[in-house]
Subunit: 337 residues, 2 copies
């Protein structure tokens, strides 16, 4: 005689148990995985192993907290840099904002091209034109005034493709990595070719990185008394270009200690990676490779923005980790849930 | 009939109790006074009140931890600057060390004067001579080599009057102040006219201030590959002078946030104090006045080293705290116990 009910009841109990177990495993996995947006694979494995090695007291590669310095390029490493650098979009918008006070711009390059939306004309003005654009839009005001202008712009402007604010075009896996490193006693720094005072107003709320841990290019400033009140005026003169071979110089200037981990995405990060790589002890060098045209962009050796050529070769030669965005990240932006 | 014994016993008991009580009071005082080398008086009172005001949650003047930035001049504020700046003594010693490799120095100023101990001759060579001296002794090597040279020199050299290492010529009350502020969530920064890479090798062990919180003057450095290894070469060219009106520029460059407390001792700190003073909310500006020729030095308006003239007037006009070393400090150096 069949005894269907007890059997079904037994099966149901087993199924319930299995279900409960898998929920628990899932919950445990979610709770303990510090990098949920990273797929299982070499980059994630290497990151987790590296952090364990340098934070395990008594281990050969242990690094004291004070020396756990990690540096991150910004454009293309922490946030989108295509189709143009965000700071360049800011400069273009500022020309439009400031144009009423500069009637001469209507006929003067590179402003004329910018105002008429003629990007080819702007390109033709070359490096000199771009520098003129930067000085006209980034200098001639106090540091406080500039900070306010950046904050207002970054709050309202939208990325042309993603239709979100630029600070929503940051990479979720990198946010997780920043938080994971800090949780393990690391100090995280931005080391960008972009303007230091363009990044500082929002880097703390977006990346959790305070102003003093943002390193970037700068123009000169001057202390002045204005109606008896001290101000710092931004002058139309380059102070420092924190790009390429300038990045180790900037790191030494601001931090005075060699990073043990460095993250970049372009040839502009090559010397920073070399500098970090050549210290003693365990090191982690990583390059974000933009391979995902569907979810973000795909570009490397031929790109005018964020060109990745020599650094890709050196990564291959030296065993640095190359993150394949398409393969290694299961989520690109914080808004994708 | 006299009852001497019980009376004596009673007196002894009372004496014991009083003694015990005073020991306890003493112990309690030592345990709870964060600034034992500061005598009771206005500066100590103002420091304690200020820290309470900015750290009391819910209070009008509460400042979040991230914004508790305190900046300290170095020469004459944290350590002795008389009879000459320590870094100048380092430069003079280095000329002697390097002389065998530079036979031409025997006849060339300012080196000739330095090598023959003719300080008047060195003085006569003026600012140009001093700059030549700095470049010859501070450039032409890698940052790692320079750091090593500084570390070796600072470990073995002695102050001419106190016959102790220079790092033992730091002010005990200021060490206590640094520790007290940090205990209350402050980030403490050195902001000095001295060379940033001259201070970084020892600032962490002496002041508890890590390299990235040392701001100073700098010469240019250049990224180079030497036998395939990246190095930063120190070039004989000024990068930045972090003195006077340069101090707010340096503070903005490195920190990107306005300090809420600033400590100096000379006119070179005036703009730094003004910059800190002109933020919103509670502020603490303090000047160390060298008034103790017996225990240290006494100098101000007429001194060529650490001249304090305009800043003393402004302190008086604006109510900044002036610390009278003789009156306000019961101990100058850590070794005085």
């Amino acid at each position: 005689m069949k005894r269907p009910i007890p059997i079904y009841a037994g099966r149901a109990a087993v199924a319930c148990l299995l279900l409960l177990c898998s929920f628990q495993c899932l919950a445990q996995n979610v709770a303990t995985d510090p990098l949920p947006s990273w797929k299982e694979g070499t980059p994630k494995k290497v990151i987790l192993e590296f952090v364990t090695r340098v934070t395990t007291e008594g281990a050969k590669d242990f690094v004291p907290v004070a020396e756990r310095i990690a540096v991150f390029d910004n454009d293309g490493t922490l946030w989108v840099e295509q189709p143009i650098y965000t700071q360049f979009a800011f400069a273009v918008d500022r020309v439009k904002t400031l144009a009423p006070k500069h009637p001469e711009w209507k006929t003067k390059e590179p402003f004329k091209s910018v105002l008429s939306g003629n990007m080819a004309g702007l390109k033709a003005s070359g490096e000199k034109g771009v520098m003129e654009l930067i000085m006209a839009t980034h200098a001639g005001m106090t540091t406080d005034e500039f900070s306010k202008a950046v904050s207002e712009w970054i709050a309202k402007s939208r990325h042309p493709r993603f239709k979100r604010t630029y600070t929503e075009c940051v990479y979720q896996p990198m946010l997780e990595l920043l938080a994971f490193l800090r949780k393990n006693g690391f100090q995280t720094y931005v080391v960008s070719g972009g303007g230091v005072e363009f990044m500082r107003p929002w880097a703390e709320s977006v990346y959790g990185i305070p102003p003093q841990q943002v390193i970037g290019s700068s123009i000169k400033t001057q202390f002045q008394l204005r109606d008896g009140k001290p101000v710092l005026m931004r002058l139309p003169a380059v102070d420092f270009i924190n790009d390429g071979a300038g990045k180790p110089v900037g790191i030494n200037r601001y931090i005075g200690r060699r990073p043990i981990a460095a993250f970049g995405n372009s040839d502009g990060d090559l010397q920073m990676l070399e500098w970090a790589a050549n210290g003693d002890g365990a090191r982690l060098m990583m390059i974000v490779h933009h391979t995902d045209a569907a979810r973000e962009y795909a570009y490397d050796r031929q790109s005018t923005v964020g060109k990745l050529d020599k650094a890709l070769d050196e990564a291959s030669a030296k065993g640095w980790i190359v993150v394949d965005m398409k393969q290694d990240w299961n989520r690109i932006f914080p808004s994708e849930r």
